[in-house]
């Protein structure tokens, strides 16, 4: 070993340089507050290691970014850990670089000859924040997408160069592939490179200051960096890493109750979806709140002028702080700004907590994110078109939206509009929750219920033949007839082939076709309805395949069709014929009403409970 070191030293001089670095003199001895430099280097190394690992699995394009991050987070072993560390260490780094600057102000660390050191610290803070800003878009989830849109908009407000800056960073008019490739190049290439330059610059400057200090004050005792300062550095690094790891593994202990292990991942970015839950990272909430006080064209003042003036003031602090009065002013300004930022952050949090609209949006966003992950983890996996398509073709996600927009002006779903809101006007068409299920049919054929708002009460059929049949005939049924009616309900409901009624205990031994026809004839159904036969004179809707996917799609497409209500159709539009909804949307609506969508196996028990069979 000794021989090798000697050999190396003769050719490179590396051993000496390393020793001088390790045993460099620290005037006044090891101190906790000298651990900043080491800590920042440590954090950078952590980000480089985790970042490089993520880089190897990440693919920056609009159809692969969310998908690859999902894969890292939920499929790769320890992917969540690496991503979690990268995410929370980035937040820790933002705090650390800011504290670093504040500490320099407090201890007057910007005095001659250390002005450069102070500016380096400021530059480091700006670069670290830039890294965060660019990194936030990379998962291409709703959160990152909408935040980045607002940010590039703010950037575009800068005088003269603003619009050009926006175009260069976004890579064109619209957020697309190039926004990701560009943000990624900045995040993983340009800003880290700047940060390395700044860290090296900081190290060189520090060395020079310490040399000057030892020379100018020979009576001050100094101590070598190794081992005391090194130990202190290692301990602070471990402490910070411990906190980062703890948040990564147990985010719920820090108030992120809805998060699993690792960093959050919202649903895939959807440029056409209102994302009402858009909020910046917590350390930018103050700026978000600040902007609310600058309406209209004043926005530039809040977004560019004042923040620019503050950064400018900080840059001038070394001169202002030459006299003790200026130094005190610097400290007061810093405290004021820090206090202001905290106050703005709390105000933003408070406003959101009291904003019911935001709370709902945030909850919906969480549900959507969970659903996207569920679908992506499902048996079909993620198609080449990307995970967004999974959500767009998911009845569970799209159904409620479609229902609320197109159906809820007349119909209800379990009393609400599909999304949980209760419309102001009374319903004027049946409640479709559990449509064609045994329970729904049993209640429908109940003389006490058929004429209520829940069924035909609000429709043109309130005085029609069906209501009359139920309230007059069915009401008089004896026990035998009631049993026959129950059998009709079972058979009719089986036509729908609802997923919730596929459980073996709810299926009965089937009747022969003749017995079935006789039963339906006895009870009186086939007087008005077709059921496995064709007769154009029947007024009531065809019951063959009643409530099945095909029946529902045809019905929604055109309820006035000869098979259904013909000229008796109440106000229901012919959604397909009139071009209101396309085939795909009608299919999604039918699937959702039938409760037919993908659920992972562990959830299926709860679905059965949610839609009980009678």
């Amino acid at each position: 070993m000794h021989m090798f070191l000697k050999w190396l030293e003769e050719r490179t001089g590396l051993v000496k340089s390393f020793e001088s670095l390790l045993f460099r003199k620290i005037p006044g001895g090891a101190k906790w507050r000298y651990t900043w430099g080491g800590l920042l280097v440590f954090m950078f190394v952590v980000q480089a290691i985790t970042g490089f690992a993520l880089w190897m699995a990440y693919s920056p394009s609009t159809r692969t970014a969310w998908e690859s991050v999902f894969y890292i987070q939920h499929i790769m072993p320890f992917g969540w850990l690496v991503r979690g560390i990268h995410y929370y260490a980035a937040e820790a780094m933002v705090i650390l670089v800011l504290l670093h600057v504040l500490q320099k102000i407090w201890f007057r660390g910007y005095q001659k000859p250390r002005e450069l050191m102070f500016w380096l610290a400021m530059a480091m803070a700006l670069v670290v924040v830039s890294c965060s800003l660019t990194g936030y878009l990379l998962p291409w989830d709703q959160q990152g997408y909408w935040s980045a849109k607002v940010r590039t908009h703010i950037m575009s407000l800068s005088p003269v160069i603003g619009p050009y800056l926006e175009r260069i960073s976004v890579g064109g008019d619209h957020f697309g592939h190039f926004a990701l490739t560009r943000f990624f190049a900045l995040h993983a290439g340009f800003f880290p490179f700047l940060l390395v330059l700044l860290l090296v610059g900081r190290m060189l400057l520090m060395r020079r200051y310490r040399q000057m200090e030892t020379e100018s004050k020979p009576d001050v005792i100094s101590e070598p960096f190794w081992p005391n300062q090194a130990l202190k550095n290692a301990l602070t690094s471990l402490a910070v890493m411990g906190v980062v790891l703890l948040i990564t593994v147990k985010p719920q202990w820090f108030g992120f109750a809805h998060l699993g292990m690792g960093a959050p991942l919202a649903s895939p970015a959807d440029p056409t979806d209102l994302y009402a839950a858009a909020r910046p990272e917590w350390y930018f909430l103050f700026l978000f709140q600040f902007l609310k006080y600058f309406p209209g064209e004043l926005e530039i003042v809040g977004a560019i002028v004042i923040p620019g003036a503050i950064v400018g003031y900080f840059a001038l602090m070394p001169w202002i702080g030459r006299h003790i009065a200026g130094h005190v002013l610097n400290i007061l300004v810093s405290i004021f700004l820090l206090g202001g930022a905290i106050w703005l952050t709390l105000t933003a949090k408070n406003n959101d907590a009291r904003n019911a609209g935001y709370q709902t949006a945030a909850k919906e966003a969480q549900i959507k994110a969970a659903r996207a992950i569920e679908l992506a983890s499902g048996p079909k996996g993620i198609p080449a078109q990307g995970a967004l398509q999974l959500l767009h073709q998911d009845p569970k996600t799209q159904g409620p939206q479609l229902f609320a927009t197109h159906c809820s002006s007349c119909h209800r779903y379990d009393g609400h509009d599909g999304l949980g809101a209760i419309p102001a006007d009374a319903p004027s068409a049946p409640d479709l929750k559990g449509f064609a299920s045994r329970q729904w049919l049993t209640e429908f054929l109940n003389p006490d219920h058929i004429a209520t708002e829940r069924y035909f009460g609000g429709t043109a059929f309130a005085d029609g033949d069906m209501v009359k049949y139920v309230t007059d005939d069915v009401a008089e049924f004896d026990a035998d007839k009631k049993d026959a009616l129950a059998a009709v309900v079972r058979i009719l409901s089986a036509e729908a082939q609802l997923p919730s009624q596929k459980n073996p205990e709810t299926t009965e031994t089937p009747l022969s076709d003749e017995d079935r026809d006789e039963l339906f004839y006895d009870v009186g159904c086939t007087e008005c309805h077709e059921f496995h036969f064709e007769d154009e004179d029947m007024d009531g809707p065809d019951l063959t395949g009643y409530g099945s996917r095909g029946w529902m799609i045809e019905f929604i497409s055109n309820p006035a069709h000869a098979r259904f209500y013909k000229s008796n159709n109440d106000r229901m539009p012919s959604f397909r014929e009139e071009g209101i909804l396309d085939e795909e949307a009608i299919g999604l609506l039918a699937d959702w009403l039938r409760g037919d969508w993908y659920e992972p196996e562990e959830n299926q028990a709860s679905v059965a409970i949610a839609e009980p069979a009678p």
Partner: protein, 186 residues
């Protein structure tokens, strides 16, 4: 070359100075290719591109799909979109609100909030538009309704035409956000 000659050419005299300048010029020339090429790629988005869609009307739906109740309804604008190396036929490129007040009276607004570019929502109960980002509120006619509305202008109206009796066509445009004037985005 003797030691004296070496020192003489080291930069103190005129010839040495010229060589220094030459070295810098040569070095810069050597870097010119990658530098200019690289800058051209980085600044490529600044090149203005022609858009086929600009100025045209787009069909957004059938007249029957819009109830005559004065309430806004969201429609997606479908068009072909080129995103870097991909071309997506017939995808949503934006959204609008349509509102029918009379049988043949339809107004259209771009869904984008003129303040910071978020998507404005409809509050059916309060009968107004709300922006979820910075609390801009607009009346159904698009004008600002709250005093502390941070938006510099009302919502952006779009031209609507009814063609062939039952088709709604809209002149879809988006405008620069954050300024009082309506400046169409290229």
């Amino acid at each position: 070359m003797s030691k004296d000659e070496l020192q003489a050419s080291g930069g103190s005299d005129r010839r040495g100075f010229m060589r220094g300048v030459l070295a810098m010029i040569t070095g810069t020339l050597a870097l010119l290719g990658p530098l200019v090429g690289g800058l051209a790629v980085v600044l490529e988005p600044l090149r203005q591109k022609k858009h086929g869609q600009a100025g045209g009307f787009i069909k957004v739906g059938q007249l029957a799909s819009l109830p005559n109740n004065g309430l806004p309804k969201k429609y997606d604008i479908l068009a072909d979109r080129q995103d870097a190396w991909n071309r997506y036929p017939n995808v949503p490129v934006g959204s609008i609100y349509l509102r029918r007040t009379e049988d043949d009276q339809i107004t259209a607004f771009n869904i984008i909030c003129p303040h910071a570019g978020c998507f404005v929502q409809v509050d059916q109960q309060q009968k107004q538009y709300n922006c979820p980002c910075h609390n801009s509120q607009f009346k159904l006619d698009g004008s600002k309704s709250n005093a502390d509305n941070p938006s510099p202008r009302g919502m952006d109206p779009l031209d609507v035409e009814i063609r062939n009796g039952d088709e709604i066509w809209v002149h879809y445009q988006s405008f620069k956000t954050g300024v009082a004037d309506r400046i169409p985005n290229s």
